[in-house]
């Protein structure tokens, strides 16, 4: 119920913004107009949404996996950290247009290159947060483990990792929120479908309302993914008290 009220409130705010700022529809169409397009073109939008949704989910899954693996690797080995951490940081500075040909070269025009691009955007918050979390273990626990002759591996997997799960959850939330843009960016790499593709195309051809209808669907997908991730992330850390809502 409440999310619905919020959503309606936000739409009202959008309509008001268009009104007050007297924005022409080719800059920002009012939601009423977008709604009409949403209805009229629902088949097209749904089809594209399925495509982009798949990219988002795959990208997120891959990003979470890759991110978690890298973070654990960095926490485990100073050697890896020294070589790969700068690479990981630098990877965030690379725009699609620079690597798109490379991705196509290696992964072809199919979904793989798009998902790879999306994962590249998505994995970073996970690595960074989780690695940060892995470095902040309560020293008392580490000392306890040391007196128990635990191998570094056991300490990492059984103490540092569970202790860092709140940090992972935090990273996963960010990752879920950037998953849509990851997928859209992925669609720059030679896509012929997807909401991002549809948006670019309709914007370039003056069909702003359709572009915003696509954007609206993308935002819905994004919100749904975020809420789902948030729920799962909380379930991951049942022992931790969370304040507010």
């Amino acid at each position: 119920m409440r999310p619905l009220v919020t959503a309606l409130g936000l739409l009202a705010g959008w309509e008001l913004l268009v009104w007050l700022a007297r924005l022409p529809p080719y800059i920002l169409p009012p939601p009423s107009r977008v709604a009409v397009v949403l209805m009229e073109r629902r088949a097209l939008l749904l089809e594209q949404a399925a495509w982009t949704g798949a990219e988002m989910m795959l990208g997120l899954a891959l990003g979470l996996l890759l991110g978690a693996a890298l973070a654990v690797l960095f926490a485990a080995s100073a050697g890896w950290r020294r070589w790969a951490l700068p690479l990981v940081i630098v990877s965030q500075a690379i725009p699609v247009i620079a690597v798109a040909p490379l991705l196509v070269l290696w992964l072809g025009y199919g979904m793989a290159s798009k998902v790879a691009m999306a994962a590249l955007v998505i994995f970073f918050p996970v690595v960074s947060s989780l690695y940060d979390g892995l470095r902040r273990t309560d020293p008392g626990w580490l000392e306890l483990a040391r007196t128990m002759d635990a191998s570094p591996r056991a300490v990492l997997l059984q103490i540092r990792l569970p202790a860092a799960l709140p940090a992972f959850a935090s990273g996963a939330r960010i990752a879920a929120a950037v998953a849509p843009i990851g997928a859209v960016i992925g669609e720059w790499v030679g896509a012929s479908a997807g909401l991002g593709f549809l948006m670019t195309q309709s914007l370039a051809r003056g069909q702003t309302p359709l572009a915003f209808a696509a954007l609206f669907v993308l935002c819905l997908l994004g919100l749904a993914l975020y809420v789902a991730t948030d729920r799962l992330a909380r379930r991951l850390v049942p022992w931790q008290p969370i304040q507010g809502d």
Partner: protein, 236 residues
């Protein structure tokens, strides 16, 4: 049974972030016996125990130790039972871990947590958490056991019972136990050492007669208690 090794500290310096806790410290803890450490708050008891456990930079433990810290350090994501079996889980030997199960259950029953095996630590009271930590330490089954105020959060009766339990289970092991209760030291310690001063120096060995756990109503103990408190006061 393996005879438990003696512990010795030879010309050690204990310095924490520039704060000199002990200088040129030499100290012996006889093998197979329990030594209780007394001393004013902040004198360096915990630091000495950490030194023995090999937890301070540049130190290594004399052998496998079980260390019970001042905080209970229970892992919030593990049940009480799994917390008690933590050592076996961490060492990852599947057989040992399996074998540790009954042992951990028995210990938890003895410390009065037999009905809280699956509880998460957050749902326990302070004293219950301390008992779980005690069970974890005893479950380690080590020849050297270092304990920092192990009974501090327990009521008089539970404390008494668990002192008995610890004395029974730790018989023949080398135990160093920090406590604030002179009577507890007198009940459990083959030897008692009072640390005093900054940097601290250990006082002479005080060795009450009789087997541990001793009867706290014993007049000799009560007399010794007065002496310990006096030494604590003057030394501090």
């Amino acid at each position: 049974m393996v005879s438990s090794p003696a512990l010795s500290v030879r010309s050690a310096h204990i310095v924490l972030d520039g704060h000199v806790v002990a200088e040129n410290l030499s100290l012996e803890f006889p093998g197979g016996r329990t030594t209780c450490l007394l001393g004013r708050s902040g004198v360096g008891k915990t630091s000495l125990l950490r030194h023995l456990a090999g937890l301070l930079p540049g130190t290594a433990p004399a052998g496998p130790v079980a260390y019970m810290a001042q905080r209970d350090l229970l892992l919030p994501w593990l049940s009480v039972l799994d917390n008690v079996r933590l050592g076996h889980r961490l060492r990852g030997d599947a057989a040992a871990r399996h074998a540790a199960g009954p042992r951990a259950r028995a210990l938890l029953a003895e410390v009065g947590l037999g009905h809280h095996l699956d509880a998460l630590p957050q749902t326990l009271s302070g004293g219950m958490r301390q008992r779980a930590a005690l069970a974890r330490t005893l479950c380690e089954d080590r020849q050297i056991v270092l304990m920092d105020e192990p009974f501090g959060h327990l009521d008089a009766v539970t404390r008494f019972d668990l002192q008995d339990l610890a004395a029974r289970l730790l018989r023949g092991r080398t135990v160093v136990m920090v406590t604030h209760d002179p009577l507890e030291a007198l009940r459990l310690g083959h030897e008692i050492r009072i640390l005093s001063g900054t940097p601290f120096v250990p006082g002479p060995v005080i060795a009450p007669s009789g087997a541990v756990p001793r009867d706290p109503a014993d007049p000799e103990l009560l007399a010794l208690q007065a002496r310990l408190i006096g030494e604590l006061r003057t030394g501090g």
